[in-house]
Structures are given as structure tokens and as C-alpha cells.
Symmetry: D3
């Protein structure tokens, strides 16, 4: 098959990071952001062939986004440049040492105008895995349609479909999300959610066991529950398996969930068993939280064991 | 009269300045920008009471804008916070040493949603001078209506109305601008334009003399033509008067026109004759181009003579 | 009453912050500092009308200080510009991760030359609360007289007087401080002190209970004891009430005491009961320690609950 | 043909740029550098398919170099990672406003270990143009052999070979360079040299006319002489053609010659006549000198006319 | 005696520190580094006369290194400038919050070309203490010979010789190191090692007690075992003494071992007993880890008690 | 003679440089400043033995100053640390591209408290040249006495005394300066002044020829008149000699006069004739103006010819 190992699509954003309160007016550093781009980079760093599709503004900021994706070796052949819409932006403010706050300016952006036709060439090329998130359907009616179409098309073609719920409360309500994501999950083989997101792909307020049972019954083969510093849980037909988080000093949790998913999918592409896939998932999550940036500190393949048996403050020389 | 010396209104923007190409991803520094805000600050620095009105987003970026205006002593009592629309943004890229490029992301912004009702309280409070620019009518139908209403209301109340043409080709065409600005100029006592903007308040392609004659005939008492490094010309019923630019090293021309206008209006408020008003206009213009930023280097009153009889490289100590 | 909610006075300093050892010569960032200015900003951010009085140098640095106060919405109408004295400075060096060191250059500064006449207009305008600290009397004989006069005048006019002991060992000894602050406390309704400062407004070495009893007996209605990461205690005629600190990651404790006081006074102005005042006090203290800067991270009113029920690393989006 | 439009090879360096004297210890910013990489990027920005070959260290710095090349869309498929040799470095110090100084640490680097075998796959894939510089043969005996082999192989295959003399006096003497580069020029269709380099591909000290005549006689079809701010001259069988430099403010001349060459080759690939090729050459040179960085300010295709008919200080908005 | 209190020699490196991943291309800050230079600075800061010898490149980077040593008051009279070899470099990357990674580019450097003749004048001048590390013998055969000659010469002259094992796994293997360092330790009075380095001066894999016994039997009078956050142990003929680490927040452990050694040697020079020497050793180690940089945060003599009885977040003012 | 080649004394200041207006609150970078320190560094860079004497605060800022002087190889053995007075400060603001403004905070500083006793040891050690400036007598009565005593003592001992008038209008008036400096010049062999300072060591308003004649008559052997970008003039008993400035792009003129003086004195110490001394003087002046900083860009001896026959934009590689 000539397609990439992983195909993902969604909105790539320019994240403008502020070291202190935005109102103080300090310098902002631009970064590529977006859950799907994070996953693509996570896989590309490990040597997998990853492709990203979507709409990107045809201006300097859009070019910035593509430069970053290309720098990381992500295939952007199927990205569509949109000459009439601006780049989606987010301001990421470190409000306190423990609390990060996001301000979106993405309404009407190029990325939100995604449509089915934008994805046709990429889907036609095929891929071993298709990854999508619950953010895309929140962007516009067209993006919602495109996400559904892509999931269904890929599933029908035998591609493994992975859905990360990724609820964004500033984009839509939990009820609105549930109404869209629950049917979408029906196309997925792998569903990823943090523990408070699981009932967005099932009955509101149901407990984890009930929700997982329902998903497995609907054809999902693996449900991954992200639990932050406490690790993760995987549910399959064979039951439940837990994985502890790696003991690292967390300095920036943004992107950790995407790193986790990338690690899991990398393990899948490498043919690892569930324990191995989970191990890689929590390893990538650990790299993500142990450094600043959404994806900048993710490991190359030769670095996968770097966090094993280290002491705080170690120096490699 | 309890109102301020100057009232102005329009869109205050967050200008994100990049020291190099935007695509390279270097740090961006946020600045308050906007032609009308620049004029208000220019006057406040000289000790005049200046007020700014308009809509500003009710988020961190809007608060940043108000912090800057307040820091400069501009009265923001009549600014309306808009909880549902984002801040208008511009990316300002130093593309080459000689060429600056602006990327706007202001469509649908809080500032563009300006309406007549937003301006009623400020107009009711009165002012000696009302300043507006040709940017505001380009933002939205509502803003266009608000600008016209304010100009007419102020003129009727005997307030001196100043209009700076300020054509923004990324917002509208010359024809669209002319259709709106020509009638608007009819309410103005002072019209300011760069030499290539003058036919936006008159017949397309007409020569300067014809255009000025037409404006004076329509009740404009002073027409100011900005000519960059070559200085400026003023036309009144008494004829034409030229003013040379001050000989300074220009490092950033953004904001120079607004500084010029602020200097002129300051001279008016101080009761200077035309020569004195022009002298102050080109002095403020010189301060603007001699330092970085749209308004950051404008002079306080005790600094007005700072650029006189100086040699390059002088140190005051 | 036309006066502000809070009037405070004292020395506003330019704090030059160094990220590492001063001797290494790294860049310094200027900040507005001063315990009283911190309190004024804390209240202004919450929507109270706060005014600051005092002497500020009539140069670029003094203008910097006023720009910051105005940016935060603090009324500086009654600030006196001093053309003959420089700005007070402090160098703030992060000596180690846990230890911050201050180097003052404030002897002979504009702020230290404060006198009774400087405060008359502000006192005449009235206020609901007058806040002063034990720093002002340490600056000069004139400042000492002015502090005493203001406290007495305000108390006589029925204004609630709040005194924060704020001992600065680099300015005067504990004995010298005690001799001045003990009588000053007699004009106060609210006395704020850290636990090792309490005997500067009473008998040297006495225990907390004895000292509090003495203060209450002398007419103080509330004694607030700041205990850093362990929270705070309030004593009134009704007895003692403890408040725990909010569980946040502390990165910069400078300004925490002032934030605490601002929170308490905000609660007072809002008519909260003692529990509510203390809750707001520790909340503002938490914001102060959870971010860098003396006051930069203090909350706006809509942010007051931001630290409640958060997990480390949370992202709001 | 499946090969790229341009193939080039050589050493990609990490350039550590210092804003002031190196001895003062200010921050250094890493940049991708290297004459051949500059040419590849110049072409890729204009939409040509450009490929870079060579050896790059298999460490963090080598990865940095590849990230930059990929970001710019340069094909690095045929780059060989060298696990045993470090990245070549250069320190670039702005010694005075007019004078830049380079300190190389490239002896024994991965790039200098280039050999014929490293280039075989890239040459086998073919290309419309092969570009090489006189730097590569200065790096090592192996690199010298590789350069000669590649030029000869490509010429034989009918690929247009372009040689830029690019003398580096810190790497070898003029005599040593001449002995190697003169025969190498015999394989080239296009020879590029600054006016003081021309006699490195001919008789020492000969005048320009004699040298050009000799080159044309040896089969070179075009000789391009770079003359800095005075423009350039092209010699062909049809005689001589001059091109003036574009009038821009020069802030950084590093990389200007490579930009010139990239512009010329882009014109060739687009099928322009000599005048058009020269026009594009001086246009790219102007972009290079008008901004900071070796290649960072080079134009995309839609920017090619950006410097035409501009005034200093223009703002596009 | 006219010689310094301490003489040390070795390679001074330019350490280029990166705040994030090197591949991301952020700014690098140059620092003087090198275990021996760290020790010299540690002693000079405490008022001891410290001298550094070795070879340093005769270029801008070498001058940078000497500027730093001189700034700290280290005598560099006997440093030899090497006109033909470059400065040794290291890139120091903060890979994660807990893990620092070093990339050396020091092969063939000026410092690695150290020879016996370079050290003759410094040894002839004499010193109370000679300090050397196990890094120098790893640099080259000449440096190995020089280290051995210096240790032997000094020991014979009655100078106290201190050897810090300082194994660098990127420079040589444990077996290679052991073969060289074991005989070298025979010249030392004081041997310093981290707990996993101790068997590099004795039998591979032997336990601590056995190894210490062996060293004492061979004439070493004191063996110091560094145990990071757990403190240190000293062994002498009188038995074993433990010292706990000071309770500080560790932000950068690079240089901590050198600081420890400097503290111990300072105590020796001041005539302190073993407990006092250890106390000073762990004190300097605490300063090193509590701030950023290899040596930048080491204490002056008047600061030695600064970390005693402090609370996290204390401010001295 | 065991003394240094040059002895100078005066106040070393911490100069806090701002890239933009001080009121905007941007970062400040600390630099060592002071006319005499600049001269000492200029000579030390050229390999002369230079010593600086004076009082320096015994705090972090004083230590910063000494670190800088030591880094440059200036002997600070005779500097006195003052435990009771702060460091002298200056804020250096780039007000416009052409105009720099200084704000002093040096009243009561350690440096201003200089007295005769502080200088005795340094004078006793002797030197070939004693350099002093007209700034020192402006600092305090004690400093005035010390300057006079030192000039007289040195002259009597046969040391060449050099006086640079260096009028600082923010410290004293022209009349006050003249009254002190005119007699002081009587001890000098070399008097340096800019063309508008010359009548501060003679009759007010007298022309250059008259003033020079008077100085020569009073025993001054050489009068040097600095004329900025127009070069300099030297007057001796043999008449007048002019030297043109080197053609460089001037970016920062601060320190240029001191560099000029250092160059002249270096030529004197090297035994050059007047033409050679002037040539070196204008060469150092050119280095000073061609880069940022008071002394940071001064040349080492091997760089003296670096500015000869260069073109703007040259790169040395």
C-alpha cells in the first residue's frame, strides 16, 4: 500500500504562548498546535510515515504551520490552502503555575471550513490508521460532515479508525458534543477519552464500566481512558489493563493526551501487544509533560528508553 | 464644558509585531494599535484631555488594550466591552529593512461591531475636537453608520471635526472608500490625507489643486496633505503653506501620519496659528519615525524641542 | 461621598528584577513595586475605586511608575511629582530557587520625601478605607510625620484605617520600628502582621495572645496574622478564626502579604462577614504566590473562583 | 524525469549568530547555513523541486539541520547521517556595524567527510541542474574527489552543472583553490564568481576579459560575475550583459551571492532569457541583503515583485 | 610561598546552554564550563587564591573563557593560548525537566592538547593544593601524561593532591578509565568520587568498604563519596563520617560535584576539621543545585550561611 | 618600575541600557560604564598594563563592576569597597535613533565619596601615565580634592598626566567646571577636550587658537581636540596636526571620546610619533562608534587594522 502509516486531519492552529498574564503584554511565541497535528508529529518522530490533511490559510501564518509540519517530517501533500480565510489562533496563557488558560480566535478560520472534498484525495491514498478527534466536528457543519464521512469511509476500507474525544468546552456543550460523537464512535476501532469525557460517547452520567461495555458492544475494540498523573486504563474484549504514568516532573501538560494516543498508535503500527502499546503510550505522555510545548519534547525512536531508571537531575555525558 | 479636549473613536487593535519574517516563527510583541488610539495618545502625552470610544473585546486581549490606553492617560470611560466578539488583531511583519507588511485578522471583531448607540454617551459629553478616520467606515455597515452619525452630530454641535482618510486597501477598494468618504468629508472642518489618498474624498484621478478647491468649497476649512519624508502641505482659504519634515533618521514609519494629525490638533487646541500647528505636526511625525512603535516614542510636552538642533549620535548627560 | 473606596499612600518603587545573580549582569526587567501600590492594584482589579498618593520623581522612571498605576485603573490624581529627587529603586535578585534578595537604592528618593502637605488633598477628598504600612514611617522623619497625621486624621473622620506592619530590616531596626509603629497602631481598626512582626506593635517578645489582647484593648477591631503557606488567623472581639492557604504551587512569594490585605479589604468593602473576608484574603494571596511578579497575577473579579477545585496542570479551553 | 529540478550537495553548517562581540558572551541563535543549502532553499521557495545531498551528523545538531531543510521543502532523501562525526559549526559575529567575522569549527565534521558513495544515489536519480561550490573541495580529499566525480558525472549525463567559486580563505589558499577549481570549472556550464574570485578558475592575476574568454573557450556557456552593491555581469558567447542591483537598504550581506545564484537558476528552470535570469538573480540578492539571515528573507514566488517601485518605509496594509 | 592556594588544570569549555530541545533551534547562551574551572571559581569566590592552567584556543571563544575566569578572580597567568586548535565545546540541552543531555565537540580542541610542558611553570610556582580530575586523562595521550606528571610532581613537593574521578562515559569506557585512574589515585591525598565511580580507582564491582580500604592502604588520606541529594560520606583513617545535603530546591545539578569539592578544599585551606570541611562541601553543593549554571550561583564568603534556617520563598529585605 | 603602564581613577557606574523609551518598561541590560574605566579597558585590550582606582559599593552591583574590570584584565588591586554607600547608576535611554538620553542616580554613591587616602596606595605604586577626567571633580568636594592631589603628585613624580575635560552638564555648570578644571589642567601634559569643551580649561568663549596657546604656555605639551565624525586635531609646540575619522557606520557614539584617548595613550606608551598616536586614537574611536556599548567593541592589538580597507557588509571567512 502506498499510503502513509497514519492519516489524520483537523485544524492546525497557531498557538501564541505567553509566559505570564496576557494583559501584561509580554512577548508571545508562536507554535504549531492542534491535537491531530500533535499525534502526527508524535508518530513521525518515531519513524512512522504520518500524513496530515485539512485546510490551512494561504498567508504567512499558514506557511508557518506547514513549515513546522514539514520540519517534523509530516506529509502535507493533501493540505488545502484557503486563500479567503485566516489561520485559526489560540492564545495560551500560563495564568498561574498550575493553571493554563486558552483563548481561541478560530471562528471562521480556514481550518474550520474543512469539507468532504478536502479529504477525498487523502482518503483515496489510504493509510493503515486514520486518527480523528472530537474537535473537528465542533468546528462547523461542514467539518462535522467531513469527519463523519472520513471515519465511515476509512472503516469501510478496513483502515483502523481511532477517535479521541477531546472535548473543548469553549467550542460546544457536552450535550451537543455527545449527540455528534456518540454515533461517530461507532466507526472507530479505538476510542480514547479522559475519564471525564467518556460519557460523551455514551449515556450522560453513566459509570465507566457501563460506558465501556456499551462501546465494546458497538464494535469498538479498544477503549483507552486517560487519567493524567495516575496513568491510563485500556479496555478490550479481554478485560481491563492498567498502566501507571512514568514518574517525571510535570511542567506542561498541554499535548499529553495526544502524545499518549500517538504512543498507543505507534505500538499498534509496530505490532506490539496491548501491554507494549500502553507502555509506549504512557512513555510518550511522560515526555510531553516533562517539557514545555505541545509536541516539541516528544522522543525520537532512539530516545524511547531515556526516561527509564533516571534520577531527577541526571546529566548524560 | 466638562467633555475632553479630544474625542476619537474607532477600532483599537492588538498589533503583534515580528522582528523578522512571520514564517520563521520568532517571538511576537503585542502592542496597542489603531490610528485613532494613536492620535488620542499623541494628544494625551502633550497634556490634552483625550478620550477614546469604541467596542473592545471582553477578554484578556481587550483588557490589554485598555491597560495601554489608561497607562497613557486616555479616558476610556465610554469604551464598551463586547463579551461575544474577539479582539481585532494585526500581525506586523518587518519583511525587509524597508518594507513592512500587515496581516489583518479583524473581521467580525468587537471593534468592527461599533454602532451608533455605542457612541451616544461620548458624544453627549461633548468635546472640543472630534477625530475620526476612514478606517472605521470600512469595518462594517454599523460602523459606517456610526461614523457618519458621529461626524454629523458633532459638526452640528459646533465641535471641530477632523477626518483622516487613512485608506486601507486590505479592507476595501478605492472606489468603495470614495463613495463613503466623500460625503463624510462634508462634515469635517479638517481633512487629512496622504497625497495619494486625496482623490478618495473627491473626483477620482483629479489633481491636488482641484481636489482641495472642491473640499474647501464644501466647507472644509483646512486640508492637510501628508508627504512622508518630504513634509506636508496645508491648504486653507488663505492659500497653501508648506512644512518640511524634520531631519531625523527614520526607523519605523508606522504611526507617523497619526502623529502628524495629533500634532496638528494639539496646535489647534493650544490656539497656535497655522504655521505653529504645522510645525507641531511635523515635529510629532518626526518623533514617530525616529523610534520603533506606532506611538511609543511620541513626545511629552517638555520634549517637544528635543529634536531641534541636534546632531546624529548626540547624548544628553 | 466622592472619594475612592480605598486611599493608600507610600513609596512606589521601580523594582529591577533579575532572573539570576546580579553579579552576572543579566537583563533586568523594571516593575512597579511598593506594598501600598500592590494593595491599591489588588483592589482596583476587583473593581473597587482605589487611589494612591505620594511623591514620585519627575523623570522617566516616575512616569513609568504612573503609567503602571494608571494602567491598573488606580487613581493617581493626588500624586505629587518631585523634580529634585530620583525614583526609589530596588534590585530584586533571585539568589537561589528558594531565596530572593533585595538591594534598596531609595535613600533620598522622591518617595521618601513625603510630607503632610502632600497628603492633605487626598485626605480631604475622603475614602471608605485608608491603608498604610510600616514602611512609610521608616523612610524619613517627614514621612513618619505624614503617616501619623494621615492615620489620625482619617480615624477621626470615621474612615476605617488599616495598618500593615511590613517590617523592612534593611531600613530600620526592630526596636526603632516598634517605637514608631506601636502608637501608630492605636489609630488603626485593622492591623495586619506576619507572625514574627506582631511584637513590633506591642511588647517585645510577648506571645501572640498577649499581643492581640493588647491591640484589641487599644481599639483595634481586627488583628490579622499572616502565616505564609500555613494560612492566616484573624482575631476580633469575637475570638479567633483561622483560614488555610489555598493549595497552589508557589513560585514567587513577593507581594503575597499585600495581596492578602487587598483581599481582606475588598471583602470589607463588599460587606462580607469575617469568614468571607478571610477567604478572599487567602484567595488573593494564592494568586500572588502562584505567579511571578508583585501584583501582576492578581485576579479580576470574574477570576476569583479560578483556583477552586483545580488540579495541577489544568488547562481551561 | 523523476529527479528534482535542482540537486546540490555540500556541507550544511550550524551557524551560531551573535548580535555583538563573541567575547562578551551574549546569546547565540542557531541557523542552518551553507552556500549550497542556501541555493536549494532559494529555489524551493520559488516552487522548484530542490534536493540537497551530503553527510550530516547523527545527533541533535544534525537533526536541527534536517528540520530546517525539510521545513523549507528541500528534499533530503539522499542525505547520509554520520554517527561518528560532529556537525560542522560556524560562529558568525557582527564585529562592527559594517564587518562580520566568521569562526569555523568544521574540521573533521560529518559534512567534510563527504565521499563519492554518498552522492551516487542522488546522482542516479538525476536532476535538471546540479549546483556545487568551491567550498566542498576545500573540506577534505574525499570531498574534493566527490565534487569532481559529481560534476563530471552530471555533465556527461547532460545535466546543467553550475559552479560557484565561493573562495573561503580560512579553508585554503588562493593557489590551492585555483589548482582544484580550474579543472573543476571545465565541467561546468555556468560559473559564478565575485570579481575578486574570477582568477581562481584561470590564470592568477589575469584581467576579467581574459579570464572570461578562457572559460568560454573551455566550454562554459555562461560566466556570472557578482559585484555586490554594484550588481552583476553575465558573459556568454553573445557578449556581456550588466544588471544593476535593486536599490534596497542592505542590513546583512551574508548569503547574498547564494541568493543571486538561486535566482539565476530559477530563471533558467523557468526558461527565461538571459535578461530575465539576471533580473531574478539580482532580485533574490536584494531580498537576501535587505533582511537578516542567510536565507530567511528569500521570496516566495508571489513575492518576487515586492521590492519593485517601493519607497523606504512603505507599509502594505 | 608565592604560589596560589589552589592550582588546578584541565580543559575549560564553552558550554552552550539550550533552554529546550536543541533540535528546535532556540537561543543558546555561552558559559564557561569545565570541572576544574568550577573548582577554581568556587575557591576564588571564597577569597582563596586560585589558579587555573591549561591550553585555551587563541580566538574569540578562548578569549571569552579567559574573560570569565578573570572576572571571577582566577589567576590565568599560566594558561597557554593555542593558535592552531579550536575551543572545546559542549551543548547542554535540558531534554526534560529532570534530564540534561550533553553533546561534546571537544575532540582535537586546544584544551585536549595539554602537555607536560604547558604545566611546568605553574607547578614550579607551587601551590598549597593541586586539584585534578579524571576528565583530563581522557582527553589525549599527552593530557594523560601531563596529569600523571603533575600529580606525581606535586605530591613529591609536598603539595596536597586532590583527584576527582569525574567519569565521562562519552569520552572513555569504565575499563579504560580504571586502568588510568587507579594508578593516578596513588598520588592523591584526597580522592573524590560519586558512589558509582568509586570502583574506577579500584577493583571493578568491589563494594564501597573494600574500595575505600584499598585507597587508604595506598596512601590516600581522605576518600569523599558524593551521594547527590542524600549528601556525602567521608572516610579517613579515623573511620567514616556522613553529612546530609542541605534541604534546598534543586533546579540544576550540573556543577554540584565540583562545588562540593571546592567547599571541601576551602575548608582544608581554612584549617577546618573534617566535620567543618564536609559542612562547607555540602553547603557549596547546595548553592550549586539551587540555581542555574555550573558555578554562577556559588557563594561569596559572606554568603556561606545564607541557606541556613531559611524557608522556601524567603525574601531578604 | 613595578607600577602599571596606566593608572586611572574615578567613578565606575552601572549603566542600565534601555533599547527603547524608559517609560515603556522594557528590559534593561547592565553594563560597566565610566569614562576612566573605558580608557583603562581600551589600554588593557591592547596589551598595556592598566589599573583602575576608586571606591566601589560593597554589594552585588559593586561586585558586578569589579567582575567586568577584571574580565578585561584591568588591575583593581587598589579599588576600595565602600560598605555604606550604593553603586552609582545611570539609565541610558535610546530616545530616538539619533538621540541618547542619560538619567543619573549617582548622588551620594560610593564612587562619589572618593578621597585622597583612597588613592595613596595606587599613586605610591607609580605608573607611566596617570589619566583623569573632569567628571571626578564634579562628584564631591572630596573627589575634587583627590583629583587635584593625584594630578599634582603624579606630575611631580614625573608621570605623564592626561586630563580629559569630559563636561557633564547634569553634574555642574560650565562656570563651576571651569573654575576647577582650569587650574587642574596646569598639572597635565596632555589635555583632551571636544571642541565645545575647550574653553572650560581657559577663558570663557575664547577661540580655539587662543585657548590652545594658553594651555601650551602653562606647560601642557599636547592639546587634543575631539571633533566627532570630523576627526580630531592635535596641538603641540610644533604646531597643529589633523586626523580624519575612519569611515565607519556609527551606531553608538557613547564612549567614543574615551576610546580616542585610550588610543592616543596607547600610542604614547608604544613610543609612536604624534601622527601614529593620532592614527591609533581615531582608530579606537572608530571601533567605539561602529558597535554598541561604551567599550565592548574596542579592538585587541591584532584587530587594530581590521577597519582598514574594508567595504560595508564585508564578511571575514
Amino acid at each position: 500500500m502506498s499510503g502513509p502509516d497514519l492519516l489524520t486531519f483537523g485544524e492546525a492552529l497557531v498557538s501564541l504562548r505567553s509566559a505570564g498574564p496576557l494583559t501584561a503584554g509580554g512577548a508571545l511565541t508562536p507554535h504549531l498546535a492542534g491535537a491531530e497535528a500533535n499525534v502526527a508529529i508524535g508518530l513521525a518522530r518515531l519513524g512512522h510515515r504520518a500524513a496530515f490533511a485539512g485546510r490551512v490559510s494561504d498567508d504567512e501564518l499558514g506557511t508557518f504551520l506547514l513549515r513546522q509540519l514539514r520540519a517534523e517530517g509530516v506529509d502535507v501533500t493533501h493540505v488545502v490552502r484557503d486563500p479567503g480565510r485566516p489561520a485559526g489562533l489560540m492564545f495560551l496563557e500560563r495564568r498561574t503555575a498550575d493553571l493554563t488558560r486558552v483563548l481561541y480566535q478560530r471562528a471562521g478560520s480556514a481550518g474550520s471550513a474543512l469539507g468532504v472534498d478536502d479529504l477525498r484525495p487523502a482518503l483515496a491514498a489510504g493509510a493503515r490508521v486514520l486518527h480523528l478527534t472530537g474537535i473537528t466536528p465542533a468546528l462547523s457543519a461542514g467539518a462535522r460532515e467531513a469527519a463523519g464521512w472520513a471515519a465511515e469511509t476509512a472503516a469501510r476500507a478496513g483502515t483502523l479508525v481511532c477517535l479521541d474525544v477531546n472535548h473543548r468546552s469553549k467550542l460546544w456543550s457536552r450535550d451537543a458534543a455527545r449527540a455528534v460523537l456518540t454515533p461517530l464512535a461507532g466507526h472507530a476501532s479505538v476510542v480514547v477519552a479522559s475519564d471525564d469525557e467518556l460519557d460523551l460517547v455514551g449515556a450522560p452520567g453513566a459509570d465507566e464500566e457501563t460506558l465501556v461495555t456499551g462501546l465494546l458492544a458497538r464494535g469498538v475494540s479498544t477503549v483507552l481512558v486517560k487519567r493524567g498523573g495516575e496513568g491510563a486504563r485500556a479496555y478490550t474484549a479481554d478485560g481491563r489493563r492498567d498502566a501507571a504514568a512514568l514518574p517525571v516532573t510535570a511542567v506542561d501538560t498541554v499535548g499529553a493526551g495526544d502524545a499518549f494516543t500517538a504512543g498507543y498508535l505507534s505500538g499498534h503500527l509496530d505490532g506490539l501487544d496491548l501491554a507494549g502499546r500502553l507502555r509506549r503510550a504512557v512513555t510518550l505522555g511522560a515526555f510531553a509533560v516533562a517539557g514545555h510545548g505541545d509536541w516539541e519534547t516528544l522522543p525520537r525512536r532512539d530516545e524511547l528508553s531515556l526516561l527509564d531508571s533516571r534520577q531527577p537531575g541526571d546529566t548524560l555525558r
